[in-house]
C-alpha cells in the first residue's frame, strides 16, 4: 500500500559516473535539494553504480537509515539493471514496485546543455520519482501451474513441422485435424516443380519431404492425432487453454498451454463463369490437380487464368507454373493469362524459364474475355500484348487459378477463439511487425503456414519450426511466473458496458458472470493500458500508471508535456540524447507503456495545470507494439482537437505523432515544434 503522510521512507541513490554525469550535473546541489523533501530518509551518492560492491554499500546505507522505497538516479537504468536487480531486489528484498529509476543521462544531462538547467531538471525528475514511489503498492509474483502440452490445429505441412519441432523439444503435441482427413500432411508434388533444377529432382524432393514428415510423426510417442469435422472451440488463456473436441472426447476438453493454428488457407476458388459453355470445360486448380492425377487423357489445350479480379500471390504463381510445367511435359498446350508472374523466391525464376522453354505461353497484362462458341466450347478473346491484334483462341479446358478470402471459413475460426483478430486477406495474423513471425494478437496462440497466408512449401516448414521455438520459449517449464501488475477491473464500478472486452488488442478480457463484471487475465494482459483509458466508468487501473501517479508525472506547473511511449518515443529520446541533440528543459516527458494508455483526462489535466502544449508520442500506428494503441491515441487526439476548437481554444494545444524507436531526428523535430512559441 501507499506510504502514509509523514513517514520518511524514501531513499535515493545517485550515480555520479564521472565520465558521463559528473561534469554535467551539480550533485552537491541535487543532494541538498532532495534532502529537503520531507519524505526522503537518505540520499547516497555513489561514484559508480556499475560496481557491485559500491552498489551494495549504497543500498545498505539507505536501508539502515530507514528507507523502504528506493529511487535510483543513473544513466539508462537498463544498463545497470542486472546489478540493481541482484542487489535491491534479490539481496535486499525491496519489492520491485517500490523502486523507481530515473534516467539522469539520456533525458537530462545530455538533453539539456546548460548545467544549472540540467541540474534543476534532475531535481524535478527525482522529486517525481520520490512522490511516485510513495504512491506505489508492492507487486507480487507467483508461479502458476500450467500445461506445456500444445494443440496444433490443422492438417497442413506446417502443422506437421510444428508438431515435430515441439515433440523434439519435449512437449506433448495434440494434432487436431479439422481439414480434409484424407490429406493429412499431404505434399502435392505437382505444385512444387520449383524445388529443384529439373522436374525429376523436384518430385523426388517433394516425395522425400512427405516421407520424412510421415516417419517423424507416426509412431512418435509425444504426438497424438485427432480428427474432427470443424475447428474446435478454444477457451482459456496462455498456459491454460481448453480445446473442446465433443465428437472425440465429449465433456473432456484438452488442456494445453499453447495453440498453433495450422489450417488450410481460408480461401475459396473463384470460379470462371462462361455462359453457354459445356459442362466440364471449366475448373479450378483443385479440379486440374484431380485431372492430372486421374491418369486419363489430358486435355490438349488448356488456359489458366490468374489475377482476374483479385491479385494472387507468389504461391499461386508457383502452383500455376509447376502445373503448367507438368502439363507441357505431357504434351498439353498451355496458355497462362495473368497480371504478373511473381518469381520472387528461389527456384521460381528457373522454373519460369523452363516453363517458357517447354512452350507454355505466358501472357502478362492481358485481360482475357471468356465466352463459349455455339457448340459449347470455351473461347478466350484478348488483345495480343505485342502486336495489338485482337485474338480469339479455343481451348478444351479453362482453369481459374484465383482464390479469394472465404469469409465464412475465417469466421469459423475467429468465432471459436474469442478475441482472435484476423489480418487482411485470408490470414489469422494481423499485419503488424511486432507479430512476426508466427504470433497472433492473442498471447499463446500462433498462426503458421497457409493460416497466415504463407502457404509456400519451404515457408510453411520454417513457420512450423518457428512456432515450436516460440512455444518452447514461452512454456519451458510446468509453471509460469505471473507478475501481479496486470490491469484490474473494480467489480463495484464496472457497468458491463463490454468496452474493454471488445477493444483489448490481446483478447485478455472476459466476463465473470458471477461477479457481474469484466475480468482481466493476468497472464494475457500485456499492460498496455488501453482498456484503462477507454473504460467509461473509470473502473480499471493499471499498477504504476494510476491517475495519482500520472498526476505526479505531469507535475504542478508543466509547460510542455510529452506523453512518450516506451516502445517508440523513449528509445528515440534516448538515442537523440546519445547523439548529442539537446532540447528545452521546459519539456516534461511522461513515460507511458503505450500511447493508448494516455487518458484524455490526463491530457486535459495537463492543460488545466498550465501546459501550453501536450504531445502524445507513440509508435507509427501500423506498427504499434500493442496493435491498436497508437491508432486509438491518434483518434483521441483528433476528438480533443475538435472539442478544443469548439470551445474557442487553440486546436494545436494537443496532437499525436507516431515515430519509431530509432527516429531520433524526428523526435527532436517534434519536440522543437512543440516548444517553439511556448518558451518562457
Amino acid at each position: 500500500m501507499q506510504s502514509s503522510g509523514k513517514t520518511k521512507d524514501v531513499g535515493i541513490i545517485l550515480c555520479e559516473c564521472p565520465d558521463r554525469l559528473g561534469q554535467r550535473l551539480d550533485f552537491v546541489k541535487i543532494e541538498r535539494e532532495l534532502r529537503r523533501m520531507p519524505e526522503v530518509a537518505d540520499v547516497q551518492r555513489c561514484t559508480d553504480l556499475c560496481n557491485r560492491r559500491l552498489a551494495e554499500l549504497a543500498v545498505g546505507n539507505l536501508l539502515q537509515n530507514g528507507a523502504t522505497r528506493i529511487v535510483v538516479g543513473a544513466c539508462l537504468p537498463d544498463h545497470i539493471r542486472r546489478v540493481l536487480d541482484d542487489v535491491l531486489l534479490k539481496k535486499a528484498h525491496v519489492n520491485e514496485a517500490l523502486c523507481w529509476a530515473v534516467n539522469l543521462n539520456e533525458q537530462c544531462a545530455r538533453a539539456i546543455a546548460e548545467r544549472a538547467a540540467a541540474t534543476e531538471k534532475i531535481v524535478q525528475q527525482l522529486a517525481v520519482g520520490v512522490r511516485r514511489v510513495r504512491l506505489a503498492t508492492p507487486v507480487r509474483r507467483h508461479r502458476r501451474r500450467i500445461s506445456t502440452d500444445v494443440a496444433v490445429i490443422g492438417g497442413t505441412l506446417a502443422a506437421a513441422q510444428a508438431a515435430i519441432g515441439l515433440a523434439n523439444l519435449g512437449h506433448r503435441v495434440h494434432v487436431i485435424n479439422c481439414d480434409d482427413a484424407s490429406e493429412l500432411f499431404a505434399v502435392s508434388p505437382e505444385y512444387l516443380a520449383y524445388l529443384a533444377e529439373n522436374r525429376e529432382s523436384a518430385d523426388e524432393l517433394a516425395r522425400r519431404a512427405g516421407k520424412e514428415i510421415a516417419e517423424q510423426t507416426s509412431g512418435n510417442r509425444r504426438i497424438r492425432f485427432y480428427t474432427v469435422d470443424q475447428f474446435p472451440l478454444v477457451t482459456g488463456e496462455l498456459g491454460n487453454f481448453r480445446v473442446s473436441l465433443p465428437s472425440v472426447k465429449p465433456g473432456q476438453p484438452l488442456r494445453v498451454g499453447a495453440v498453433v493454428i495450422a489450417t488450410e488457407a481460408p480461401t475459396q476458388p473463384v470460379p470462371v463463369d462462361i455462359q453457354g459453355a459445356s459442362p466440364g470445360t471449366t475448373t479450378n486448380l483443385d479440379g486440374l490437380l484431380h485431372i492430372l492425377r486421374s491418369k486419363g487423357t489430358l486435355p490438349r489445350k488448356i488456359a489458366i487464368l490468374m489475377d482476374q479480379g483479385i491479385q494472387q500471390d507468389a504461391v499461386r504463381s508457383a502452383q500455376v507454373l509447376s502445373v503448367a510445367d507438368r502439363l507441357a511435359r505431357h504434351g498439353t498446350r498451355v496458355s497462362i493469362f495473368c497480371e504478373h508472374v511473381r518469381v520472387a523466391a528461389w527456384g521460381l525464376e528457373a522454373l519460369y524459364r523452363r516453363v517458357r522453354e517447354a512452350g507454355v505461353l505466358v501472357l502478362r497484362g492481358v485481360t482475357p474475355q471468356t465466352r463459349a462458341d455455339t457448340s459449347g466450347g470455351p473461347l478466350i478473346e484478348f488483345t495480343d500484348p505485342i502486336t495489338g491484334a485482337r485474338c480469339i483462341e479455343q481451348f478444351d479446358l479453362i482453369v481459374s487459378a484465383d482464390h479469394q478470402p472465404d469469409l465464412a471459413a475465417m469466421a469459423a475460426v475467429t468465432t471459436r477463439i474469442a478475441g482472435l483478430r484476423s489480418g487482411p486477406a485470408a490470414s489469422f495474423q494481423p499485419n503488424n511487425v511486432w507479430l512476426t513471425p508466427v504470433l497472433t494478437n492473442r498471447p499463446g496462440i500462433f498462426a503458421v503456414g497457409a493460416a497466415r497466408a504463407r502457404a509456400e512449401h519451404r515457408e510453411a516448414l520454417t513457420d512450423g519450426w518457428a512456432a515450436a521455438a516460440e512455444v518452447h520459449a514461452l512454456l519451458p517449464s510446468p509453471t509460469l511466473e505471473v507478475v501481479g501488475d496486470a490491469a484490474a477491473v473494480d467489480p463495484e464500478k464496472c457497468v458491463l458496458c463490454l468496452t474493454c472486452l471488445r477493444i483489448c488488442p490481446h483478447g485478455a478480457v472476459a466476463i465473470d458472470h458471477d461477479r457481474g463484471a469484466a475480468v482481466i487475465s493476468e497472464i494475457s494482459c500485456q499492460r498496455c493500458g488501453t482498456c484503462v483509458a477507454e473504460c467509461p466508468a473509470l473502473a480499471i487501473h493499471l499498477p504504476r500508471y494510476t491517475d495519482q501517479e500520472t498526476a505526479v508525472d505531469i507535475g504542478p506547473a508543466p509547460k510542455v508535456v510529452v506523453f512518450a511511449c516506451v516502445n517508440s518515443a523513449i528509445p528515440a529520446a534516448d538515442l537523440a540524447a546519445e547523439l548529442g541533440m539537446a532540447y528545452s528543459p521546459d519539456v516534461t516527458i511522461v513515460r507511458v507503456p503505450c500511447a493508448g494508455q494516455v487518458d484524455p483526462r490526463a491530457v486535459v489535466q495537463a492543460l488545466n495545470a498550465g501546459a501550453r502544449r501536450v504531445l502524445l508520442l507513440g509508435c507509427h500506428p501500423e506498427s504499434c507494439r500493442y496493435l491498436s494503441g497508437a491508432t486509438r491515441a491518434s483518434k483521441r487526439a483528433e476528438r480533443l482537437t475538435l472539442a478544443l476548437k469548439e470551445a474557442g481554444l487553440d486546436p494545436a494545444l494537443v496532437s499525436f505523432a507516431g515515430l519509431a524507436a530509432n527516429e531520433a531526428h524526428r523526435f527532436l523535430n517534434l519536440i522543437e515544434t512543440a516548444t517553439e512559441g511556448t518558451t518562457t
Binding site: V495, T499, C535, A537, P600, V604, L607, A647, G648, L649
Partner: protein
C-alpha cells in the same frame, strides 16, 4: 438502451455564459455505457470548460439521474452552484431540474434514440416505444422503427437492393429485413394479411404516458 451524444461545446458554452459556478453532473447509467456522459466524459468536459471559460467548475457523477435518491450526495455542491450542466439523457436532465428547481439546469447531451450497440462506438435505433409492440408478428423486426415511414404493410416502392431510399448508404429497408426473416421462419403467410391502421393514441401522440403498478405503488 438510451443512446445520447455530447452537444457541440459551442452550444454548451452558450448556456453557461454569465454563470460563475457550475456543477458538471454525470450519470452512471446508459450514457456511461454509450460513452457520452459518464465519469470520464465529465472529467474531460469539465477540464475543457475550465480552460475555456471564467466559471469555477466542479464535477461529480452519480449512479443514475432518473431516480431522485441518487442526487442526495451532490445536493450540497449543487446548492453552492448557480447552474448545473447535466450530462444525463433528457430524462435525467429533467429530474435534475425538478430536484434543483431553483437552479438553471442545462443539458450537455442530445438524447438520440433507444437502440442496440452494434460494436464499439456504433449504435443504431430500433425501438420507438410505441406502446403496442408488434414484434411478434413481424419476426422480431420493428416496422415502426426500422421502416423510415413506419409502414405496417410495407415495403414501399423505394426499397432497392435491401436499402431504404431515404439513405441507401446507411439505412437498410426494414421491410426487406422483415421479409427475409419471415422467409427464414417459414412464415411469409403473415405478410399476406392486411395489418390494420395502428392505434397511435398509445404512442406519445396520445399525450405523455404514465405507468402505474398498483401492486407496488403507494402501499405504505
Amino acid at each position: 438502451m438510451i443512446i445520447a451524444e455530447r452537444k457541440p461545446i459551442t452550444e454548451i458554452k452558450g448556456y453557461l455564459t454569465g454563470h460563475r459556478r457550475v456543477l458538471v453532473l454525470g450519470c452512471g447509467g446508459c450514457v456511461t455505457v454509450c460513452l457520452a456522459g459518464g465519469a470520464r466524459e465529465v472529467a474531460v468536459l469539465a477540464g475543457l470548460l475550465r480552460i475555456a471559460g471564467e466559471a469555477t467548475i466542479s464535477e461529480a457523477t452519480i449512479e443514475r439521474q432518473c431516480d431522485a435518491e441518487f442526487f442526495e450526495s451532490v445536493k450540497k455542491e449543487a446548492e453552492a452552484c448557480d447552474a448545473i450542466l447535466s450530462m444525463a439523457c433528457g430524462v435525467g436532465v429533467q429530474m435534475a431540474a425538478q430536484i434543483f428547481s431553483s437552479k438553471p439546469v442545462y443539458p450537455a447531451l442530445n438524447t438520440k434514440f433507444m437502440g442496440t450497440n452494434d460494436g464499439p462506438g456504433q449504435w443504431s435505433e430500433n425501438c420507438l416505444a410505441c406502446g403496442d409492440c408488434k414484434l411478434g408478428i413481424f419476426g422480431g423486426i420493428c416496422p415502426v422503427t426500422r421502416c423510415s415511414k413506419s409502414l405496417l404493410n410495407g415495403p414501399c416502392g423505394g426499397s432497392s437492393k435491401g436499402k431504404c431510399e431515404v439513405d441507401p448508404e446507411h439505412i437498410e429497408c426494414g421491410w426487406q429485413l422483415i421479409y427475409d426473416r419471415l422467409r427464414t421462419l417459414g412464415r411469409l403467410d403473415v405478410l399476406e394479411k392486411i395489418e390494420p391502421p395502428r392505434d397511435w393514441s398509445k404512442t406519445h401522440a396520445g399525450g405523455p404516458r404514465r405507468l402505474l403498478r398498483t401492486d407496488v405503488a403507494n402501499l405504505i
